[in-house]
Amino acid sequence: MTDPPPHADDVPPVPTHDPGLPPPVDVASALTQMAGLVLSRETVDTALELVTSLAATTTAGTLGAAVTVVDEHGKRSKAASNAAAERSDALQYEFDEGPCLTAWRTQEVVRIDDTTTDGRWPRWNEAASQLGVRSVLSTPLLMREESIGAMKVYCERPHNYGPHDEHVMRLLAAQAAILLANSQSLQEARRLSRQLTEALASRDAVAQATGVLLARGAASAQDAFATLAAAARRTGSPVLDVARALVAAVAVRNTAPPAPDNPGP
């Protein structure tokens, strides 16, 4: 791999939630490093497209190729080499049946020799044959023990794929799985970074509110926190809201003109 190392500017700026608080610490770059050498999403997509087009050209007669990704956001296709492949995939997600979903679920290679005679996925086979897809080869994408999707090739002729194509697809699927796992760890790093940034902003607010209460005579930080928690319980709002409201109220008091019955010098 000759990709450049990831840069912090790959990560979009995280919006701050309270303009009154200092900007939160940017932990994104540190986390990206923690997640190991992570490729940028653009690099991953380009490399995935390379793998699918390689699959399309090394398996003779292939009409289209694509990768199915399954994660907590659902099922979707990536790097489809043409519209027919994309459409055939979309039908699988719509019907929740089809060779790639079976390859993903069972972690085994699935081959359809002829969609007009194969009875395993009747709805999908019928729809796919109308799109001009007659034979399919689909390989699961495995990361360690976990199945994260499938890579497939579609052909407009029946009986197009044999053991050699299965072998080629297994090799390419291993590469695609590595690329996908890489982009998932990048997303994970981004998610963690966003969560931590929010947590730090919240923590700042609670610490400031604790300071205000200490200055107003709270016996200890624990005592101040108990006051905040009690206020939160009584108003049914989170401690964070109480803390922010308290800090905001103090700021308003400090900037307000002195009251007439309490004249300044």
């Binding site: 205000v212 624990q222 319980r233 049914g236």
Partner: protein
């Protein structure tokens, strides 16, 4: 409540709120908790002691997560109440907290928890 009971109840509440230990730890840190994830995990399993301040922060974090969970399930009424009563109450409470005269915003609430054991 003994310390052991308390940690067990917190872990039950955590499961009820559908939080992983690290989710709960993040909420606890966001509220000012200073223990690391290992401390929190150990405490929830009854293996590691946590001082009462940190226990309070953790309890508040898990309680708010439970509130969030129940709020997600609750069904709104057809006509919402006019005004934001909660916000007004919060404003009054904060006025009380910042007031120069000795505030007594806690009338009727349970007493604050005792100091460190």
């Amino acid at each position: 409540m003994t310390s052991e009971e308390r940690s067990r109840r917190m872990d039950t509440a955590r499961l009820r709120a559908e939080l992983t230990v690290s989710d709960l730890w993040l909420r606890y840190v966001a509220m000012g908790g200073t223990g690391d994830a290992f401390d929190v995990d150990g405490y929830l399993q009854g293996l590691v002691p946590l001082d009462t301040y940190q226990q309070d922060v953790l309890a508040q974090a898990v309680n708010e997560a439970l509130d969030d969970r129940y709020r997600a399930y609750s069904v709104p009424l057809s006509t919402p109440r006019p005004g934001d009563a909660g916000a007004q109450q919060l404003d009054r409470l904060i006025e009380g907290l910042l007031g120069d005269e000795a505030p007594d915003p806690w009338a009727g609430s349970e007493p604050p928890c005792p100091g460190p054991a």
